[in-house]
Subunit: 264 residues, 2 copies
């Protein structure tokens, strides 16, 4: 049974390296598709072209993705025993929206694990706060994803902010669809920008230049524990580092993006 | 005056998007070019093609880079007011060695800075230990770069290891050439793999799947303070996160790679 996210990221192969798709309504903010949605859409075409799930995917954001038809041009550069590497270009209305490179393959065998970190400590979901884009710019993205953050990480909404460039909370698809490796690409850019929590910066669009997601595991069923942080806000840019943990306490994705600090 | 690194990463434009270059002897380990050297070589061609220095560059490693002539094919996807985005493919002896995507542009204006980190605390350079590949596989890479690590981070050499997947130390080019934005790409993959410090894993090649470097500033003169860490060694893979700080205490680069845990 396909969920809303699966349907919104469907791709149809036209020929060996070309896929037709739709930038779906309802996954945009003020008409521009969310960045996590776009990398997931391209990632799905790349996964189909390589026959493998994503391991490490990087997107560079070139132009806003407007709702409507698009094409994903995939070039498989190498097919190895364990992994394949491909590039993709998502083109819509004659403009290149994102350019992507990724290596695809299954997770390795379990082997020896050494983990030097813990999942974020979060209040129960019912004690967290659902953040959505304001109704004025909302077109349903905040309804399709169910993001609930720690109360202190939602204080940007009343003009205060926690003073820490960190946002932690729960992620699930609203329709209950489980999150697979393609879904993790969406999770990596679904939360509010962490700089909103620092009063030094205005609450406005924080354009992503580049987003890299490492898929480190396949999520167990249940909502995901996520945390995003920035430590270096300088020369008009900031990095945002994300960790996504599943209900079994396993880190299933790491992300980092380089974005522009919002300006009025 | 060109330094050894500038000379070793020279590229010659053949036509709009094609550059001739050499994978130089002396920047390899056992005949295979170092990964930081390769991303720097491709990055230089991309910087020439766009006319801008690197901001965020990602390489995927497809095949070992053997010493000898090569070509870098650069495709400039977008040229904007502040930034340009390009892809590159480094091809040698008929094989694609690395595939690269990057956004290029100047650092933004200083603006408001919020920094939530400090440079690594390091002993004086003369109290650190110069690590080089063993003579059996050495071809001079360890002579061209001057990497000196904290004593506890060199303990892998006597079979113990610190028990922490972390290596910190100083970086300089041996000939005293200053490190520019292209040089920072080299710095991001110049230290020993951090997993060598954990006895759970053998001391052997740790192949990089993907390396992303964010250039966050232009280094002041003097040796660079660097730290590399991994927190998640699982399913045969590990991430390695790097920070590079200049002598003025400014973070000038962040890096992350996804690599395979060494096997015997």
């Amino acid at each position: 049974m396909l969920g809303e996210f699966d349907i919104a990221t469907e791709v149809t192969r036209i020929d060996a390296g070309r896929f037709a798709a739709q930038i779906a309504s309802g996954w945009d903010i003020a008409g521009n598709a969310n960045g996590g949605y776009l990398i997931a859409l391209a990632g799905r075409a790349m996964a189909e072209a390589t026959g493998r799930p994503p391991l490490s995917v990087t997107a560079h954001y070139l132009a806003p993705g407007k709702v409507g038809s698009c094409e994903v041009i995939v070039d498989v550069l190498r097919t190895g025993r364990r992994t394949s590497t491909a590039t993709a270009r998502l083109i819509s209305q004659g403009r290149e929206v994102i350019a992507v490179i990724g290596t695809f393959g299954d997770q390795g065998e379990q082997g020896i694990s050494v983990i030097d970190a813990r999942p974020p400590v979060l209040p129960a979901i019912e004690n967290c706060i659902r953040t959505k884009p304001p109704a004025a710019v909302g077109t349903g993205f905040g309804d399709r994803i169910d993001v609930r953050v720690r109360p202190r990480d939602a204080t940007f909404r009343d003009g205060t902010g926690s003073g820490r460039a960190e946002v932690a909370g729960w992620f699930a698809f609203s329709d209950g669809q489980s999150v697979d490796a393609i879904g993790l690409l969406q999770v990596a850019d679904a939360f509010v920008p962490v700089v909103f929590q620092r009063q030094e910066f205005p609450i406005a669009w924080a354009p992503t230049l580049e987003l890299t997601v490492h898929i480190r595991g396949l999520p167990a069923a249940g909502p995901l524990r996520c945390v995003f942080r920035s430590r270096f806000m300088q020369t008009g840019m900031f990095e945002e580092d994300g960790e996504v943990w599943d209900s079994a306490g396993v880190l299933v994705a790491q992300s980092r993006q380089l974005a522009l600090i919002p300006r009025i």
